[in-house]
Amino acid sequence: MLLSPVAMHIPDGFLSTLVSLVLWAATAIVVGYALKRVSKDLGERQVPLMGVLAAAIFAGQMLNFSVAGGTSGHLMGAALATILLGPWAAILVLTTVVGVQALIFQDGGLLAMGANIFNMAIVGVAVSYTVYRSVQKLSGGRKWGVFTGGFAAAWLSIFIAALGVALQLAASGVSPANIAIPAMGGIHALIGIGEGLITLGALAFLYATRRDLLHIGEPAPARGGLVWAAGLLIALLLAVASPLASVFPDGLEWVAGEQGFLEAAKSPLYQVIPDYVFPGISNTTLATIIAGIVGALIVFGVALTVAYLRRNRQTTG
């Protein structure tokens, strides 16, 4: 299970609130800008195209193939979407995919959705774009450029996005950096090969049937340079930051330790009510647990009463 791209969809509960909210904010800004770009630069034809391609990426994830040792190659689709649609539309398509996966299949959390969109839609697309565009430039639009570029973009987008996930988990204090980063990185270096092979196969098919869809040799899209630079920066940053973080995990531990404002707020309150106890019970831990159970019983009682009343009404009515 851990070897499927599920490991890329962070559920709720793992990221600290601070990390979740910061990534939500970053995601909102980038996706908002992508929406503006797409409305401005692309025709109205793109709307149904983006919607149906999002569905195709989802359906494409059903086409897994066995790699080795019970693991299977899947499709994240960031590289393929970037090659077919350009970076801005690809960001929106992947955002839609990640959003629907979370809302319908609980594949990734809701509060964590900002982070998941950030990793797959923003990091995935930007890195794909930088790699693919660079290889295209080097190859002068020749055939090998399409395929090498596609494979490399797919592999690196998975690898870098996985490093992002690992860093976020470490910064949230739920997984030590010196274990999470090599583990996530190592596993996804393998998964990335599956992504690369599927992307390659899809590109080969489209190259043979509808070469026009690959936009070979077309000029860069509006603000493509921005995405290129962002992709390069993200890739370098994560590639450099991750080994550093796993060698010196203290920085991230510090972030993880300091982030919970409730934890911070907790201690002064402890001092305000230092001996908060239930009457007759002197053990604080025991008291808190008893308080919790009493509260739970109250909530439960209400729910059961409502359910009971409803059932009675249905049987009598």
Binding site: V6, L49, A55, I104, V174, A180, G201
Partner: protein, 266 residues
């Protein structure tokens, strides 16, 4: 061939199903936020949140078994948090010899791991209730009410509509592949080909799927244009939120606020 299993919506008659989708989505998000904000090891808070979640599951008439079973599917990710049991310093609980190493589980480590797993489990339960008790079109409406940009909501709608159509197409491709994946009896013939070859076959199928998606989007575009589509996304105004829905929202926020307050005190 018709894919139904993709739609998590389970129609029931329940107060949770009848709740305004905007209120439901907002409260789900606040519940998850509350779980996220509660500190590590805040057991009373977790118990309260759990009883709240369980109450909601009961009220939703979805079946406790169904929700818990689905919730456990989201569980493998906890493996990612497993190492903290051993890496957070503190009082040792148990010590396991692993080869030349000793893995020592610490009390704060276990506390953190269990807390994370619990928070995650509670959050996913609420997300499941939301998805199973709300038809997706109603969720789209709720997204609009939460000020998600129209174009994005339109993309969600299109993706959801064609999810089923394209998943059907993918299934047909998979069956076609399975129908032709024979095994040879000849000695020395290994069936299945190399990984690279299998990857390329899957990739070819994905390419096929994408090509069909392109062609379909052309036809959809024509159908939209012939009914007046001009690139702008239009929709009917949102219906007003009823008074009882406002009350439910206020009540839900009050309960969650209270629970969060408890998290501060304990």
């Amino acid at each position: 061939m018709h894919i139904h299993f993709l739609d998590p919506y389970r129609p029931r008659v329940s107060p949770i199903h009848q709740l305004d989708p905007r209120v439901k989505l907002s409260l789900t998000l606040v519940f998850i936020l509350t779980a996220a904000l509660s500190p590590i090891g805040a057991w009373p808070v977790y118990i309260l949140l759990f009883s709240l979640a369980l109450s909601i599951v009961l009220l939703s008439a979805l079946g406790v078994g169904y929700v818990l079973k689905r919730a456990s599917l989201a569980f493998p990710f906890v493996l990612a948090a497993l190492p903290v049991i051993f890496t957070i310093p503190g009082a040792a609980l148990v010590s396991l010899p692993v080869g030349a190493w000793r893995l020592t589980a610490t009390a704060p480590g276990v506390e953190r791991f269990v807390s994370v797993a619990l928070k995650s489990w509670l959050s996913v339960q609420m997300a499941i209730v939301l998805a199973a008790s709300t038809p997706f079109p109603d969720l789209l409406l709720a997204m609009r009410a939460l000020r998600i940009p129209r174009l994005l909501v339109a993309l969600f709608a299109l993706m959801w509509r064609y999810l089923f159509v394209l998943a059907d197409e993918a299934l047909r491709l998979i069956r076609a592949r399975a129908a032709r994946s024979g095994q040879s009896d000849l000695p020395g013939m290994r069936s299945g080909g190399s990984v690279a070859w299998r990857g390329r076959v899957a990739g070819g199928m994905a390419g096929n799927l994408f090509l069909r998606a392109f062609e379909r989007s052309d036809r959809i575009y024509m159908a939209m244009v012939s009914r007046g589509y001009d690139g702008e996304i239009r929709s009917l105004p949102l219906p007003a939120i009823g008074q009882s829905s406002w009350l439910t929202l206020a009540g839900g926020l009050a309960i969650l606020g209270l629970i969060l307050g408890l998290g501060l005190i304990f």
